[in-house]
């Protein structure tokens, strides 16, 4: 199929990734000034900046393909039109939760990006190659913390197990197939979700069990929220994120 006919599908698939990074970046930034250790405040703020940078990268590619302005996508869309995975919109809660969520998401993104560097669509492959370097560093950082907190004190272990239990129901959605994606998989533009999940599981499961001593939760009922139907948390987040821009929609920034 000629590539330009695939553009709209590529765009909507990219929008999922962009929204994921934007919402997660925002949640991460909520720790700035509040992290448990000064060095970690800086490190986690770096990670937040990186995620926002990734969001900009994906939104910019969407703009190239469709003409949609990233600022409008970020600052004027309502919650119902966002397409992020529910895991990233959950409130930051305690440090164990944020670190666990970051760990699970970073490894999923890493798994996806690794396969995306082989995309038949060159601009996507190039961008993936660049972004993957930063995600790799995130993985290093979050896995170092996962290990130390899980093997730390009785309290830190308990909190880590609770965090894993809380995140786990949201994990399947990270690898759920997306409408229209099958065509992109066929054209080798996007990797098949099962391949991404396999890649992820091979790295994450042994690490959580053997190196962190955590129990991987039994599969539970999927949560009520999806990429299309969001929790009240997203509206709250967007209320904060879009507040200033919405004060004066015509302002020049």
């Amino acid at each position: 199929m000629p590539i330009d006919r695939l553009h709209p599908i590529i765009c909507s698939r990219l929008l999922l990734m962009a929204d994921d990074e934007l919402v997660l970046g925002h949640r991460d930034s909520e720790w700035t000034g509040h992290a448990p250790i000064l060095e970690e405040d800086i490190a986690f703020s770096n990670i937040a900046q990186d995620e926002l940078g990734h969001a900009i990268a994906w939104y910019s590619l969407v703009e190239e393909l469709s003409g949609k302005d990233p600022d409008r996508l970020v600052y004027t869309r309502g919650g119902a039109d966002f397409r992020n995975t529910p895991l990233v919109e959950l409130p930051k809660q305690d440090w164990a939760f944020s670190m666990t969520r970051q760990y699970l998401f970073d490894y999923a993104e890493s798994a996806r990006l690794e396969l995306l560097t082989q995309s038949a669509y060159r601009p996507l492959a190039d961008l993936a190659a660049k972004v993957t370097k930063e995600e790799e560093y995130h993985c290093r950082h979050t896995s170092a913390w996962m290990k130390r907190l899980s093997l730390g004190t009785e309290e830190s272990h308990r909190r880590m197990q609770s965090a894993l239990d809380a995140c786990w129901p949201y994990v399947p959605d990270l690898f759920s197939p997306v409408p229209g994606e099958e065509l992109l998989v066929q054209e080798r533009i996007f990797p098949a979700p099962p391949a991404v999940e396999r890649n992820w599981e091979q790295r994450v499961a042994p690490f959580l069990r053997a190196e962190c001593g955590l129990r991987i939760p039994e599969s539970a009922d999927p949560p009520a929220w999806t990429r299309e139907k969001h929790s009240p948390h997203l509206e709250e987040l967007l209320g904060e994120l879009q507040f200033v821009a919405r004060l004066d929609p015509k302002a020049k920034w």
Binding site: E39, E40, I42, A57, P70, K130, Y137, R140, H141, A144
Partner: protein
């Protein structure tokens, strides 16, 4: 007195090929692996870093020349029987930071320092053994250092604040970059 801080690690960076390692500051970390990661996040902000070392603060001897003139250990070799490699750093000027001076194989840190001081002038000195050093894995260079190269938003030169203020004060129309307002139809976007 209980110190609730994590152990401190001194951080050294090499910012360009051919330039010597220099002291950047210190970080707290529970262990050397996290010290390297923290050091990267705290100190590798401006683009360009090739090499990163962290050394536990308690393994480093750090003295000014005046302190050394007044007190030198009476028996610096006591207890040492092995020759080790020591790295000596020195501060040449008050404004500068500690810069790598020499690597010296010796029976003790003090001995290595003595040798280095016979070769160079310095206002302050630091010595530590090679074995106390943890450095970034060269393997990790792409994910450790390359991302910073693109982050121009961290360079203060990217923000034309003074230029902007002059324009505002002169009553001129301003664009967000401090440059002349863009022509209609173009949109400068930075990724």
């Amino acid at each position: 007195m209980t110190d609730t801080q994590w152990p401190r690690y001194e951080v050294f960076l090499q910012t360009e090929e051919g330039k010597p390692l220099q002291h950047a500051g210190s970080v707290h970390a529970p262990d050397s692996e996290l010290a390297v990661l923290n050091a990267r996040d705290v100190f590798v902000r401006r683009p360009k870093c090739l090499l990163l070392w962290v050394v536990p603060a308690d393994r480093m001897i750090h003295r000014t020349s005046e302190e050394l003139a007044q007190a030198w250990p009476a028996n610096p070799l006591s207890g040492e029987s092995e020759r080790r490699l020591y790295h000596v750093f020195r501060k040449e000027s008050h404004r500068g930071t500690l810069v790598f001076a020499a690597s010296i194989e010796s029976l003790s840190a003090w001995d290595a320092l003595k040798v280095a001081m016979s070769r160079h002038e310095g206002l302050a000195w630091a010595v530590f053994p090679q074995e106390a050093v943890r450095q970034n894995d060269p393997h990790d260079r792409p994910s450790f250092f390359e991302p910073a190269l693109d982050k121009n938003y961290r360079l203060h030169g990217q923000y034309k604040t003074i230029q902007l203020m002059r324009q505002v004060e002169a009553g001129k129309k301003v664009s967000s970059t401090g440059a002349e307002p863009a022509k209609p139809g173009t949109s400068p976007r930075q990724t």
